[in-house]
């Protein structure tokens, strides 16, 4: 390498590092804030690196005690909102997993059926699904709420699962349909000719090949249902039934805002997504690439 090439590389790395730092800064700052004791959070001038490291913010989050809040003023209870943090976390996990299982299973079966069998109007289904995907949730949320009232499901985790299925199913359907169209049909036909049943062919031949598509659909569903705020806000009433996203917004209810607690909860909310992201990053790009570039 010539000196010029080296200089070019160094400049590129410097630029990349600067951009990355800027992009990651809000999250880094949240993390460092969450590790500081209360006095240091309000210290002026602020320092990025905590002088004293502490887990006290996380402890008060998990044990539900805090001195800052005017105990649940807006929620009408005497219990501080942070007392529910663990409940909310578990709710979000249940809802996210439930939605992901239902959405991927239903869309995988339907997309397979749609690409391998003949139905009246089968060509229009993926296009309708794509339109369904573009409809924003704000349009769905109130009529969905009324449907949930009819089904007597309001304020249950099931209503949230069904709500998220409704907003994720169209895209999963479209993704799986696009995927199955690209899977060659010859091996399946050969197996069928050899006398294997359709179900067995599906289970042993189709599913393993469809795995990347299923993973992409699952990641999409996981992200949407873990991150959503709107449905939880409209469907749920009781503090202990809220998903994490709606719950932590109650931290603003009091007269003082406890930023340490706030940043600790934002870190804990991001960690599951971060782990997922690191584990499945390649699929994420492939999945969104397929969804975004092709359609």
């Amino acid at each position: 390498m010539t000196a010029r090439e080296v200089a070019g590389r160094v400049a590129l790395y410097a630029l990349l590092a600067a951009v990355t730092f800027l992009v990651c800064f809000p999250l880094l700052w949240a993390f460092f804030t969450s590790m500081k004791p209360k006095e240091e959070i309000f210290h002026w001038p602020p320092t990025l690196w905590p002088q004293t490291w502490t887990l006290e913010n996380y402890r008060s989050l998990l044990e539900g005690k805090d001195a800052y809040f005017q105990a649940g003023a807006a929620s009408g209870t005497a219990v501080p909102p942070s007392a529910f943090f663990l409940d909310w976390f578990i709710n979000s996990v249940i809802v996210t997993i439930g939605t992901t299982i239902i959405s991927t299973v239903v869309s995988t079966l339907a997309a397979y059926s749609l690409t391998r069998f003949r139905f009246p109007g089968q060509r229009s289904v993926p296009y309708l699904a794509l339109i369904g995907y573009m409809v924003p949730s704000i349009i769905f949320v109130f009529p969905m709420f009324l449907v949930m009232v009819e089904l007597r499901l309001t304020d249950t985790l099931l209503s949230l699962i069904l709500g998220y299925v409704c907003i994720t199913l169209p895209f999963c359907m479209w993704l799986m349909w696009a995927f199955f169209r690209g899977v060659p049909i010859e091996i399946e036909e050969a197996a069928l000719v050899d006398g294997a049943s359709r179900l067995r062919v599906f289970w042993e031949i189709v599913l393993p090949t469809a795995w990347p598509g299923i993973v992409a659909a699952a990641i999409f569903t996981l992200i949407v249902s873990w991150n959503d705020y709107l449905f939880g806000r409209v469907f749920m009433n009781s503090m202990e039934n809220l998903p994490l996203t709606v719950g932590v917004m109650h931290f603003f209810d009091g007269t003082h805002v406890d930023w340490g607690l706030m940043m600790a909860s934002s870190v804990l909310m991001t960690v599951p997504m971060a782990l997922l992201f690191m584990a499945l990053q390649r699929h994420l790009v492939a999945g969104f690439g397929a969804g975004a570039v092709k359609g």
């Binding site: 990349l16 992009v23 949240a30 001038p45 349009i139 449907v147 409704c166 909310m269 990053q281 975004a292």
Partner: protein, 297 residues
């Protein structure tokens, strides 16, 4: 003898869960949304429903707040898309370079896309806090400003902060799409251009940009439709405030339904949004050629 389902039965069986779910939780709500738009409906008195014809629509079109929200939605969408596209293309090109360790940067720069909006809103409220926020502190230190800026408390600054949030979260989407396209441009094109003595700028304008045109049009239309209808990115950061200065149509519909308990008006706003969306979708189908190509994906 073993029980075996015929092919036809398997096909129907596989389709059933989808049909049932879609009918109950997609078709029914949409029908309900359209019906509600013509009714007066208060969720606290579910049995008093009146057919009001087009009253809800008239009310909306007469409401200055609706037009204010519409105007603000255009401002919000325009700036967001402009910055997302320019930064997205720039960063995609940066990430396309073949450096050792580039995968790490790619991963980190795509990360904002999966961070929950609530988390970003919390972090934004913290870093843009006017008294103890790090952004004001940094700008003061650098001498860019001489006194604290009330980021979330003045109309223009609140809108600007919301746009920054949106750009931060969704630029990775543009990067992913552009990067995917960049990777398919044959490097021979660049080599040939270099031999012909074309500089970096010329190569960008003559090779990269035309190659990206198609994907960029699709991404821009797609992001415009999405951004225009965004709810959480605005509501969680500013609640539409200060006052109503960061309302867009989604926040307007939410407030009508949730705070004013006028579900009919909220539904009518939704219908208007769907009409705008359909217009956008038609544009999208036209420009992307989706539906014309029948190659397997």
């Amino acid at each position: 003898m073993r029980f075996r389902l015929s092919d036809r039965q398997v096909g129907i069986l596989f389709m059933l869960p989808f049909l049932i779910t879609a009918a109950t939780f997609i078709v029914w709500p949409v029908a309900e949304a359209i019906r509600l738009a013509f009714y007066q409906y208060n969720p606290l008195r579910p049995h008093d429903q009146f057919w009001v014809g087009l009253d809800n629509f008239e009310r909306i079109l007469d409401d200055p707040l609706f037009w204010e929200s519409f105007h603000q939605a255009l401002v919000w969408t325009g700036w967001s898309i402009l910055f997302q596209t320019v930064l997205g293309v720039g960063m995609a090109m940066l990430l396309h370079t073949a450096l050792p360790g580039i995968a790490v940067f790619r991963g980190l720069l795509l990360f904002p896309y999966i961070v929950p909006t609530v988390v970003i809103a919390l972090n934004w409220r913290w870093i843009f806090n006017s008294e103890i926020g790090i952004v004001n502190h940094a700008l003061l230190r650098l001498g860019v400003i001489s006194e604290n800026i009330a980021w979330l408390a003045t109309p223009d600054m609140a809108m600007a902060s919301a746009i920054v949030l949106n750009v931060w979260k969704y630029t990775p989407f543009v990067i992913i799409c552009v990067l995917a396209r960049l990777q398919t441009i044959p490097t021979e094109l660049y080599d040939a251009a270099k031999v012909d003595g074309a500089g970096a700028m010329r190569r960008f304008l003559d090779i990269t940009l035309p190659m990206l045109k198609e994907v960029l049009v699709v991404v821009i239309v797609f992001r415009t439709i999405w951004t225009f209808n965004k709810f959480e990115e605005i509501y969680l950061l500013t609640r539409g405030g200060p006052g109503t200065s960061t309302f867009n149509l989604a926040v307007y519909a939410f407030e009508e339904g949730m705070a004013n308990l006028r579900l009919g008006v909220a539904a009518a706003t939704g219908v208007i949004m769907i009409v705008l969306l359909l217009v956008g979708t038609i544009v999208y189908v036209r420009v992307s050629g989706f539906g014309r190509e029948e190659k397997p994906a």
